[in-house]
């Protein structure tokens, strides 16, 4: 009986010769991540347990991205607290101010996480790095404290659901549409406690940006991790940026799966998740006439340069409807610079967009793009829970950058195909 890629990566981080789904294990951690919201609790717990020195200053990443630039005194205090800890412990991967990007875009981009890693982060979208062929999962602050202290953490080895995707994705359909479709199909707890493994001809051809978007939303199906078998596309992405040696793992041919789900990507159209669950998904042609007040293009799901290029392609020579506030958030400083070099920022400004610095900001209803009661936003983010982007009576519709850009122009939820 063989093992899945998830089992193999976990096993390689223990001294065990064999592991099986369902077992509780302790595994060594390659990178432990915290942010301005979750790290303060972790640091307090670390100290309470007698922690003086972190297990390895090169293996911890502290990224102050959620309320950056600090929105008020309290958030500034939280950042100050984390900063003092980071400086005291000489944490190598500490990011704030003009160096900070949204953590899950920043860590892969900077080569801080690499294929074959075990990564834990006190942020639920840590699962993003599964796009690289790493085991990555979101945990709580206490888990982060334990990992910072001991370099290891307890895990229940997850069962795996395998998704086999075939068929050529039609125009304007992206990785985001594929994952929204999957969550719509299996539900927000459809992969509870499990790993989501992606294979098939469509996946082999999928660019890294799309893989990261898909892995990013594993948590929205309740999963522990999402994972892509690493290949040449992975190698091209990691070469030249990986800060540590990396290793490719692959599932055995006789690995055991909890379920295998086949998807024909050729039949997909752009997808939209209606309020207030990411599983409340419809094809854009069935969306009806939904007027919007705001369109947000950004976040750890879809704030990469590839996403901005698609949005710019649609917004070129067009303007956001006068009733719509269009907000574009390059996810990292490097993406921002690249977008300037390619002339994308100029296209956005001509389209009358607001350009936000790299920040979680509006995505979590933190600041810089909050919704009032009764307002509706289309967003390229990953969650549309009640109150996620502002007032409890506001609404969030999740979609791809292409749909968010087209909707901004038309003032209602629409596909780029609807543009004249």
């Amino acid at each position: 009986m063989g093992n899945t890629i998830t089992e193999k990566i976990l096993m390689a981080h223990t001294d065990l010769r064999e592991i099986r789904a369902g077992e509780l294990i302790n595994a060594r951690v390659d990178i432990a991540l915290g942010n301005d919201i979750t790290a303060p609790i972790a640091i307090k717990e670390f100290r309470k347990a007698g922690g003086r020195k972190v297990f390895d200053r090169d293996k911890i990443a502290l990224v102050l991205d959620h309320f950056t630039p600090n929105k008020d005194i309290s958030s500034a205090e939280q950042c100050k607290f984390v900063r003092e800890f980071a400086l005291e412990q000489k944490i190598t991967h500490f990011y704030e101010g003009g160096r900070v990007g949204i953590e899950h875009a920043l860590l892969p981009e900077q080569g801080i996480v690499v294929p074959g890693d075990v990564v834990i982060g006190a942020d639920s979208h840590t699962c993003t790095y599964g796009g690289l062929g790493a085991f990555a999962t979101g945990v709580g602050s206490t888990d982060l404290a334990a990992a910072m202290l001991t370099g290891e953490l307890w895990f229940k080895v997850p069962e795996t659901i395998k998704f086999v995707v075939y068929g050529k994705m039609p125009r304007w359909v992206s990785g985001k549409d594929l994952i929204l479709h999957i969550i719509g199909r299996i539900g927000v707890d459809g992969a509870l406690y499990k790993a989501m493994e992606y294979t098939g001809e469509t996946i082999s051809a999928l660019p890294m940006a799309d893989r990261l978007s898909i892995a990013n939303m594993a948590i929205e199906a309740g999963a522990k991790n999402g994972i892509f078998p690493p290949d040449d596309i992975t190698r091209q992405y990691v070469e030249g940026r990986g800060k540590r040696p990396y290793k490719f793992y692959a599932s055995d041919a006789d690995a055991v799966y909890a379920d295998i789900i086949e998807i024909n990507a050729a039949q997909l159209e752009p997808q939209v998740a209606f309020p207030h669950l990411p599983s409340n998904v419809k094809g854009v042609s069935a969306a009806g006439d939904i007027k919007i007040d705001q369109s947000l293009i950004g976040s750890c799901t879809n704030g990469r340069i590839e996403d901005l290029r698609i949005a710019a392609q649609i917004l070129q020579g067009r303007k956001a409807a006068s009733t719509v506030r269009l907000i574009v958030v390059p996810a990292t400083p490097a993406i921002y610079q690249q977008a300037i070099r390619e002339g994308l920022i100029e296209i956005f400004l001509n389209a009358e967009a607001v350009i936000s610095p790299p920040s979680c900001g509006a995505c979590l209803g933190g600041h810089m793009g909050i919704l009032a009661a009764g307002e509706r936003a289309v967003a390229t983010t990953n969650r549309n829970f009640v109150g996620r982007m502002g007032h409890a009576k506001s609404e969030v519709y999740l979609a791809s950058p292409a749909v968010a850009a087209a909707s901004a122009v038309l003032g209602r939820i629409a596909s780029p195909a609807h543009l004249a």
Partner: protein, 165 residues
Amino acid sequence: MIYKGKIWKFGDNIDTDAIIPARYLVTSDPQELAAHCMEDADPQFVSKMKKGDIILGGENFGCGSSREHAPIAIKAAGISCVVARSFARIFYRNSFNMGLPIFESNDLWAAIKEGEEITVDGGAGIITISGGNKQFKIGKIPPFMEQLINDGGLMKHIAKKRGIK
């Protein structure tokens, strides 16, 4: 581990944004967080509930963000334990790690109305509705996690293992 209290009943997929909205995450102070516990699911919750009460959730309770602020807010508000048909995994982990007692029962949810009182006997693995003899089994907890609870959470468990205090 016996908890007796009035239940507050919620539906499926109660997410961490409903338990403690992100706009309050500029602090990790338990009392400040407790003041907004469950606010986006039921704005009056904190003023209505009493110390020792129990939250009853449906499927996938605590889905969404990894914020430990969610179990912290629930615990600091004075909720004695949470029972749900199922829990989202990070919330499940966090609760054990920081010492909020949680129990899985698939059948209780449909058999009880808001405001009724239950007794949760964690040791015996049984929930009883007061004023009746209906009993419900609680999902089994793996031994390692039981030890986490007995040691008072993950960090105390680690400190004990490392011989600190």
